[in-house]
Symmetry: C2
Subunit: 341 residues, 2 copies
């Protein structure tokens, strides 16, 4: 049988309460007593039963998720995963609170962060837009002992405990390899469509993509980025105009989440079918585009995995328990028509 606090207390010759004080690193125990208890713990190989501890504590994890009130499919998907997680979270004494802030608006985010009631929240996850105010707000949270993880979009690593999302530089290189390889020996131009170059993940993907193309596929030339603001209508206009003007486009990299506009344009003329297209994020639209042969590959990050991972990471910080690094790594997933989930 696994040893319990009773065994430790017996072995150390102290009471349960003292064992508990030592286990939880509470003050007011003589150094010598602490040492005796710790020795007993090691001797017995005691490991605390966290479920029992949480039961006794009546611990409830109050986790706050701050996400952009976006209209794009990926963010909607993320929100849906959060609501899914919410259904099951009651079983784990976890309360998920979802707050939406204006997209790409650092001030709105900072205001939301500043408004957090430190006594009511045990952990925070946020889709970050970085700014001085945001950094300040995060620093205050962490000083108050509240764990913070960034989701999908990161800030400098001193301001959060963990980043849950993909490596966007590697993602950009991946897109480059796929387009380069799929284009085969063809040479020509590559169109780039992003949401906004002010967003760090889009900027990173774009830069890495350009570099990888230049390195490995000299026959391909990247055109200037179109910034569609993740808006279908804007993207549609810009891209239609571009493809009308440029007559040598063999590839297209859709960096952001404005896939609907891209799909509309690509479907508008049969000759566009020849263009090799790689986009981001698996949604109903992008899946259909893969099936229809409009998209050749989609690079995805699993929103469900990200939500569950953020929850696990926050709880692990709160309980001071270990995590399995591999389980928390968010993969750069590649989908083609044949391996859709």
């Amino acid at each position: 049988m696994r040893p319990t606090v009773h065994d430790v207390a017996g072995e150390a010759g102290v009471s349960l309460a003292t064992v508990d004080r030592v286990l939880n690193r509470r003050s007011g125990v003589r150094a010598e007593t602490v040492a005796r208890v710790n020795a007993a713990i090691i001797r017995l190989g005691y490991v605390r039963d966290i479920s029992a501890a949480n039961l006794a504590k009546q611990r409830v994890y109050n986790l706050l998720f701050i996400v952009p009130e976006g209209s794009n499919s990926f963010m909607l998907g993320l929100e849906q995963e959060l609501n899914q997680a919410k259904l099951y979270s009651i079983l784990d004494r976890t309360h998920l609170d979802i707050r939406k802030v204006k997209t790409f608006d650092a001030d709105a985010l900072a205001t939301a962060l500043d408004g957090i009631d430190i006594t009511q929240v045990s952990g925070v996850a946020l889709v970050a837009t970085e700014s001085e105010r945001v950094r300040g707000a995060l620093a205050r949270l962490r000083e108050a002992g509240i764990p913070v993880v960034t989701l999908v979009s990161d800030v400098s690593d001193v301001y959060r405990d963990h980043y849950v999302g993909i490596d966007n530089i590697a993602a950009g290189r991946t897109a480059a390899s796929l387009i380069g390889r799929f284009c085969g020996r063809r040479s020509g131009k590559v169109a780039l469509v992003a949401g906004s170059m002010l967003v760090k993940d889009h900027a990173e993907r774009r830069a890495a993509f350009g570099q990888a193309i230049a390195e490995a596929f000299p026959g391909l030339e990247c055109l200037p980025v179109l910034e569609g603001r993740d808006d279908a209508a804007v993207t549609r206009t810009l891209l239609a105009e571009l493809l009308d003007r440029e007559h040598d486009v063999v590839g297209l990299y859709s960096i952001g989440a404005g896939n609907r506009g891209v799909i509309d344009v690509l479907m508008s003329r049969t000759e566009y079918r020849e263009i090799t297209v790689v986009a981001h994020e698996l949604t109903d639209h992008s899946k259909q585009a893969l099936r229809d042969g409009i998209f050749d590959a989609v690079i995805n990050q699993d929103a469900g995995h990200e939500v569950r991972s953020a929850i696990r990471l926050l709880k692990a910080r709160i309980d001071d328990t270990p995590v399995i690094a591999n389980q928390e790594a968010i993969r750069i997933e590649i989908y083609i028509r044949d391996n859709l989930p």
Copy 2:
């Protein structure tokens, strides 16, 4: 506050013991009393706290994993993941028992299954080799109320509760698309290397691959499968001989786990570098082959995910709790040099 058994007991006007009997569907309660308790449960929206229940029950999950005592890297990786999971499983009152049986030997597997002490084991996961004896053994286990999941390799679905692994037909089609697309406009022959066509997953991948190539890439022609028995030496000899004889091989699909032999041959002559290669399973060898440009893509199933998923699924069956379907779906992962984890 969430309602507890006390609240239910009060509401129904019965004792805790009776509430417990109803909750656990134990016999010896008058139908009318059962109805009263159930009504109270619904009225209060009561949800049982499983951690507390398990604490009271001193529940220990004894899970048995039966895996082939294989020498191939993927199975070794799986075993490593099992040992990883073992480290953390004590925290969850879970005991993992790993038993190894002779690879691809249905009788050895059946004997292991028949030898299970039903009173000591609460759930079984196995890498299946199907046979009449195996089916019989599984049926007996399930009649005894012991949940069974298959891992990586499946049996007919009436003999297990769940399959934890990839869709091998889709995997074969995925390989075909990748090779076809990467070969571009080149036409020629495609070499196929498998472990054994007697193994269902290899056979399924091969069939789906052949069909997809025939459908979509008429310029490519599949050569007869080499069966390397997942053995590096055998694979090396067979493949070297084949490539020496055939002078028009533009693609190679390594269906099984004998990647080392494949890599050796491909590195032996510079002209083999031109061959487009897709293999299965991410291991140290296959990762290096991707980095070196020997392999163009690797199709992977995440062994760590599979192990954790099998554990979650078995526990969910044991506790009769719901699972999140998306979390348990094993993806057909595509890796190229740029998105390696």
